[in-house]
Amino acid sequence: MLLQRLIKAALVLVSCFTDIETGPGAVVSTQPNGDRFKIEGRAIVPGMKTQDWVSTARVLVEGEEYVGFLRTDGSFAVNDIPSGSYVVEVVTPTYRFEPVRVDITSKGKMRARLVNYIKTSEVIRQPYPLQIRASGPHSYFMKRETWGWTDFLMNPMVMMMVLPLLIIVLLPKVVNTNDPEMRKEMEQSMNMLNPNPELPDVSELMTKLFSGSKGSSKASSSSKGSRPVAKRSLLYRFLYQ
């Protein structure tokens, strides 16, 4: 019952086997109209003998439209190409080669330039006959994460501990603390750190509010007086050691 309802809901059953002969793409006429030219060049893999990689290599002109193969010395020539502009690339499973664009005029003049799909009319000339160098092996794989000594250092906890330590240790060595001018500057910067003695201290206010007034105020004023001095002396001790 449920199943029937389901079928009724799915009105048009679109999973059909369509009985269509797939129409061919553009039917290319095989009669050569106009002259045919050939694209020549040489492919080099630095550091490898040509006979090792040449048996797996092909030259593709404009995808699979025209296919050429490499000779035993690494050179190639793709024949039977009409005039036009083509992207030539050497394809091997092991090495990566950069593609090159070759323009062939109707008179047969060849011009090789860099491939730029965005600015297609940009011309940065390349030598013709083509000289294609392998720019390294293909990288098909991701590298596994490895352990390294930097992992320990880049830990934020470690950085918070080690870096301030370094600053405190190294900074006085760098700054010449015996210079009276330097001392004056540092004193000034210290004064900026100190809170304004005129401003009421919030913590004092709070303790006054919640506890007795007399005893605490005396203690607080004495501590207030001694505190900045204590602060200054602590810092001085570090810097002027």
Binding site: L6, I7, A10, L13, V14, S15, D19, G23, T50, E64
Partner: protein
């Protein structure tokens, strides 16, 4: 979709869930198989004693070298697909293999040791007829290419053209063969069908016509089919109408001498076109004076031409295939004859006497799920005691290539049908016993509390039992020495693994061969070759019943449709074992327009397949009463659409309760304006049945 599957298989196959992202994962979850295609020409590389390769040129425009020891590819070069990359001829000499490609468009020479090209030149236009190596005084330095109107001779070392000549009267005469016997002359044989043979002799040095003769031959229609050149330039042609062999001396070219077959005591089998096979081991020397004559589908004769007389050396009856092979100075003939229903034996015979060589029998078992042997390629070599040993490569109808060593051990076998996979389905493997138990809890009506508890307890006990058995087996296997533990996947103990990752890949290839491949290892578990598959066939594979419904076996249906006539056949089989199913499919006398699988299930859980024939009547498979009843109930909501791309007509039909259809709508797109190129429906395993489709940028596209 089919193209995608083809590409996937042709290049490489990665395991479908895990992609090898890290380099150390390579090979663990994936496998790759490389194929070359149906072998068209093959040559063994016997240059050096140690060279162990065979060169093959295939129908799929691939030129490859296989290692004869293991059958692995050494290298392969795939040219453009289509007729422009078609390999027309393969000539092999020493280190070089010369190929004529693209109906005579290009001539290429390959270095077979390195796998790189020596040279490639563009030939002048004209359709290709024949090519041969031209030798002189024992060395071969040139190759001659014959086209419809010209003949050109090129240097073998660099491909440059030595000379090119127009063929005389090429619009009347159809030049078909070129032959060179090693004496510096190139013979071009042409024919005016049912009239005469024209022989033009060119000098190899400069292309001058030395002689041009016409010889009467009113019975001959095609030279490469009926004639061969034997011995010192003797053209032998067999004619079935006059039951005779006609010979002609190409050097003297006087007249054809007719030798009736009856004078030799032979007769041709009725309705059979006899053919001749000759052998020229070295292109710089004359061919052998022995040749094979095939008089019937199972009858071969080894004949010898001796001073103008034909002598019968041996009569092979029954014989399926015959071939010559040369090693060093000795030439042998290998003949395959059927021994019994499942095996054939191959024997070697000395070519000059016809005597059988001792200890040269090789048994070839014909796989009942494969095709019959089609061609025989023999690699002969001299053994230490100067006798001839051989290995043979048998090519069968199902594109498989098997390499066999004496006395019948298969060294390797390549299933080249897999180079052209048309469609495939991944089928779940059958459930194990414990998994079936677990599944048994669901889907059944609740009996009562007690019964459910008991069922649960019993299934847990069974699982415990299975687990203990598994542990015991592990323990036992660990104690046995390692080499005795067999760990190969066999078809008997296949079952689903933990996450249902390992599946059975059922592949249908264009040659009509079905394969069942294990997705974990890539090994072929079963194969089946279907007879009578038309060459221009369209396939559709549907899984009618999966392995989830236990007592009923899984069922797959393959619909094979001949594109020309529209007639279709159904092949129903079990996808796990590959065997034909017990269910007989209906005969389909009418051409089928469309097939459609409904989610309606029969009582045994098989989905219903509807077939629309060209009378717009629908037949259902399986057509039991239950199914027909269900169809009648749901007929009003089943709709089809049919597209006729030649007329540009789309029409929609609805199913009526008596399984006929009525047209509901029709749209005509005039073909002068636009032509329908392809039609795509929803994927059959699509789960989302909505009117909109979610695009990549998360917007929804509504139709």
């Amino acid at each position: 979709m089919a193209k995608l599957i083809l590409l996937l298989l042709k290049l490489c196959i990665l395991f479908f869930v895990v992609h090898a992202v890290f380099e150390d994962q390579v090979g663990k979850f994936d496998w790759r198989q490389q194929y070359v295609g149906k072998v068209r020409f093959s040559h063994f590389d016997t240059q050096m004693q140690s060279s162990k390769k065979v060169l093959v040129a295939t129908e799929s425009n691939v030129f490859a070298a296989l290692n004869t020891r293991t059958g692995e590819l050494l290298w392969r070069h795939a040219d453009k697909t289509g007729p422009e990359g078609n390999i027309d001829a393969l000539l092999h000499h020493a280190q070089d293999a010369v190929l004529v490609v693209g109906n005579g468009r290009m001539l290429r020479s390959w270095d077979v040791n390195i796998g790189g090209m020596n040279w490639e030149i563009l030939l002048d236009s004209g359709s290709f007829r024949s090519a041969c190596l031209v030798g002189q005084q024992g060395t071969v330095k040139h190759v001659a290419v014959l086209k419809k109107t010209v003949i050109s001779v090129h240097y073998l070392s660099n491909g440059h053209q030595k000379w090119i000549e127009n063929l005389p009267e090429s619009e009347i005469v159809d030049y078909q063969t070129v032959y060179s016997g090693g004496n510096g002359q190139v013979f071009v044989l042409g024919i005016v069908p049912h009239s005469h043979i024209t022989i033009v002799v060119y000098s190899m040095e400069d292309g001058e016509i030395i002689k041009q003769v016409s010889v009467e031959a009113p019975w001959l229609s095609n030279i490469p089919v009926s004639c061969v050149v034997v011995d010192q330039g003797m053209l032998m042609c067999v004619d079935s109408t006059t039951m005779s062999i006609n010979t002609l001396d190409l050097h003297q070219q006087l007249q054809m001498t007719q030798i009736p077959l009856q004078s030799l005591g032979l007769e041709v089998d009725p309705d059979f076109h006899p053919s001749l096979v000759s052998h020229q081991p070295n292109p710089a020397q004359k061919p052998l004076s022995e040749f094979f004559l095939q008089l019937g589908p199972e009858r071969f004769l080894l004949l010898q031409l001796n001073n103008g007389q034909i002598v019968t050396l041996r009569d092979f009856k029954p014989a399926l295939l015959a071939s010559f092979a040369t090693t060093g100075e000795k030439t042998v003939a290998a003949v395959m004859s059927p021994k019994n229903k499942t095996a054939c034996s191959i024997n070697l015979f000395s070519a000059d006497t016809g005597r059988r060589l001792l200890d040269t029998t090789l048994i070839f078992t014909v796989d009942p799920n494969g095709g019959k042997p089609e061609r025989l390629h023999v690699q002969a070599f001299l053994k230490k005691d100067d006798s001839v040993g051989y290995r043979v490569m048998v090519q069968t109808e199902d594109h498989a290539v098997t390499f066999i060593q004496q006395p019948g051990r298969v060294m390797w076998s390549r299933e080249e049908a897999l180079s052209d996979v048309v469609t495939m389905e991944m089928v779940d493997l059958p459930l194990t016993g414990t998994q079936a138990e677990l599944e048994g809890e669901f889907g059944k009506k609740a009996d009562g509390l007690m019964s459910m508890v008991l069922k649960r307890l019993s299934s847990q006990l069974i699982m415990l039992q299975a687990w203990i058995a598994h542990l015991w087996k592990l323990f036992y296997d660990a104690r046995k020495p390692r080499n005795q533990v067999k760990n190969d996947i066999s078809i008997e103990n296949l079952s689903r693994d933990e996450f249902n990752l390992q599946k059975m890949m059922v592949m249908v290839t264009s040659s009509g061969k079905l394969f069942g491949i294990d997705s974990k290892t890539g090994g072929i578990l079963w194969k089946r070759y279907l007879d009578n598959v038309p060459s221009n066939a369209a396939f559709k594979l549907m899984v009618q019943r999966t392995t989830a419904h236990f007592p009923h076996p899984p069922q797959c249906t393959l619909l094979i449709k001949d594109k020309d006539t529209g007639l279709a056949t159904l092949h129903v089989f079990n996808p796990i074992f590959g065997r034909r199913s017990q269910v007989t499919p209906p005969a389909l006398p009418q051409p089928i327009l469309q097939s459609l699988m409904l989610p309606l299930m029969d009582q045994d859980y098989a989905k219903v397949l509807l077939l629309v024939d060209d009378q717009y009547k629908v037949s259902a498979f399986p057509s039991t009463k239950n199914v027909l009843q269900q169809l009648q109930e749901t007929a009003s909501s089943v709709f089809f659409f049919l597209v006729d791309s030649s007329q540009g007509r789309l029409s929609g039909y609805r199913l009526r309760t008596d399984l006929s259809t009525e047209q509901v709508w029709e749209v005509v797109i005039p073909t002068e304006v636009q032509k329908i190129v392809s039609v795509k429906g929803k994927r059959p395993n699509e789960h989302v049945h909505s009117q909109g489709r979610v695009m990549g940028d998360r917007s929804v596209l509504y139709k």
